[in-house]
Symmetry: C2
Subunit: 345 residues, 2 copies
């Protein structure tokens, strides 16, 4: 008797914000690993907003596109349950882009579309799913933005957009550990409360009609570092508060994910130039492809163990719920806090 499993394939390319009907859940046989392959059993699936670029009908970036009928290629933490490869043993926990499916049979070295071979996860560093969150790409991005680019220090006032997101929650905690005054920006009172519970000094609701005034009141000495995960209206409100020489690590631009090179007018680029020039701003884009690496992970694992850094996750149960949860990620005002994960097995 052949064992079966669930997998999620792309049904149709998304036109802007993805909808549940762009996905299809299929039941297929569990694959059998061939020579040199391993069989992975998915434990945790990452719902990474950047996947949006892989399924949009327009090629907004150079991201590898997923075609209709193909399995979604999201990152996972999996367990090796059968192995024909000498470097991977049954029971090993690995992280890689094995896709939105319960099992995958693949070459562990060539498996990963974007980021190379299956990477072994050390369970001693923390719960294994942290390899997708606080110790994975979002956490490493946060570390690179707060420490590497932002060089946050104790005299700084730091503002963080999408403060309730996978990057924002970690970046703000790191900035607090480094002694800064930290102002989160998030949508809605519930999300702001969750952000403050992580130790942020303030969290300002961008949906409030007096958002700009509240933000200014929260930053009486201005803002020295702005860790930007959004762009858009939030950033336009932050810019006038930046101090001369402020650093602006740019770590995401979710406000523009559905926009190509040009959005509807007016043109905000002249004002952005004016702010960069008159304030002498320093802006650096961090794409997440060149992550900070080992030292940053070791430092954050230490903070996790010491209880100084909290692993903030939103967990959704069951692979079949992944499409709806993924679409929800892009809805302003969703209730997700921190890294959004699907608990598969």
């Amino acid at each position: 008797m052949t064992q079966t499993m669930q997998q999620v394939v792309l049904a149709s390319p998304a036109k802007g914000s993805p909808l549940p009907e762009n996905f299809r859940v299929e039941t297929v046989p569990v694959p059998v690993p061939g020579d040199g392959q391993v069989l992975t059993r998915t434990l945790w699936l990452s719902l990474d907003p950047l996947l949006r670029f892989a399924i949009d009908e327009v090629r907004l970036t150079g991201a590898t596109h997923i075609r209709p009928g193909e399995v979604m290629y999201g990152g996972t933490v999996s367990e090796i349950v059968a192995s024909n490869h000498p470097d991977y043993a049954v029971g090993d926990i690995v992280e890689g882009r094995t896709g939105w499916r319960e099992y995958a049979a693949l070459d562990p070295i060539k498996a990963d579309i974007v980021r190379g071979p299956l990477r072994k996860v050390d369970p001693a560093l923390g719960p294994v799913e942290t390899a997708l969150g606080v110790l994975g790409m979002p956490g490493q991005t946060a570390h690179a933005c707060a420490v590497g680019i932002g060089q946050v220090g104790p005299d700084d006032t730091v503002a963080i957009s999408a403060a309730g997101g996978a990057v924002g929650t970690v970046a703000g905690q790191i900035a607090k550990i480094r002694g800064a005054r930290v102002i989160g920006i998030a949508g809605g009172p519930a999300k702001c409360a969750a952000v403050k519970a992580l130790g942020f000094d303030e969290c300002v609701d961008y949906k409030a009609t007096d958002f700009a005034e509240r933000l200014a009141a929260a930053a009486p000495k201005g803002i020295d570092v702005y860790i930007d995960n959004t762009g858009g209206a939030v950033t336009l409100a932050v810019l006038p508060l930046l101090n001369r020489g402020a650093r602006m690590p740019m770590c995401g631009f979710i406000a523009y994910y559905g926009v190509g090179m040009e959005g509807p007018g007016p043109d905000h680029l002249p004002g952005f130039y004016r702010m960069i020039m008159t304030k002498g701003l320093k802006i650096e884009g961090f794409s997440g492809q060149a992550v900070a690496g080992g030292d940053a992970v070791a430092e954050m694992a230490g903070w996790l163990r010491e209880g100084r850094l909290r692993n903030q996750e939103t967990v959704i149960e069951g692979l079949a719920t992944a499409p709806a949860a993924f679409c929800e990620t892009f809805r302003q005002g969703n209730s997700h806090i921190g890294k959004v994960l699907v608990h598969v097995a």
Copy 2:
């Protein structure tokens, strides 16, 4: 008999691009220096495009505004012709914002609206008017952008917008001295020829209908450093050619001088974000207020003496011509090359 002199006052605030009728040439008595004051005789007057912000009816920046009836406060190189101040002697050559007038009586320490006291010019460093150009603010800006922020090295391809301007002509020559391949961008064949005569490897005419293709052809290895003096359409054409991790010293934004925080649509900010993120760009604004200072000037003076750096100027004769020449500065396709100076006496 009272001696008279000419001075230029603001007749009316400019609405966008300044027009000659925004200025008035007056004949007034030569002032008599009071206690602690000096009398300066203007030799050279700088036509600094940033002065536009001081005369616009809209406060586009925090620049000190000039009111109707007040003397234009442009930078000059002057000679001390009478002195009641122990630190300044007759015959001293000084640089400062003494204004658009043939003589000025002022306190040499408090004289300067923006940049502090009258600064003595060492004639041994080069022709005295270079204190307004290659050895002054434009040259120091160019040095800061090419060396300080841009860190131009021999393996770099460097592109420079407004390559025929006061900053661009110097920045390109510095980049050549540092061994880079240098591509200027300027308007019209005559200006491009003048830029190439300064030693740039290429100069691409942004008015050409196939500008983007010509620019790409001039940069077969992409662009590592983009010294931006304009913003606008030129920059939008450069962005796709930037290499991963490219540096972008932002030293001017003349394309947006007449625009407030918002221009007419479409909105180019989403595309700018996308480029910063996907290419991991490093952008830093240099406003010219915090200039590089002594070491940069000494280095450039050495290059001048050795003939490796050319002092490129456009000289206009006579103070009364200053308003028309200043307005011409903002006309795309003007024939100005390098620093634009009025030879007053």
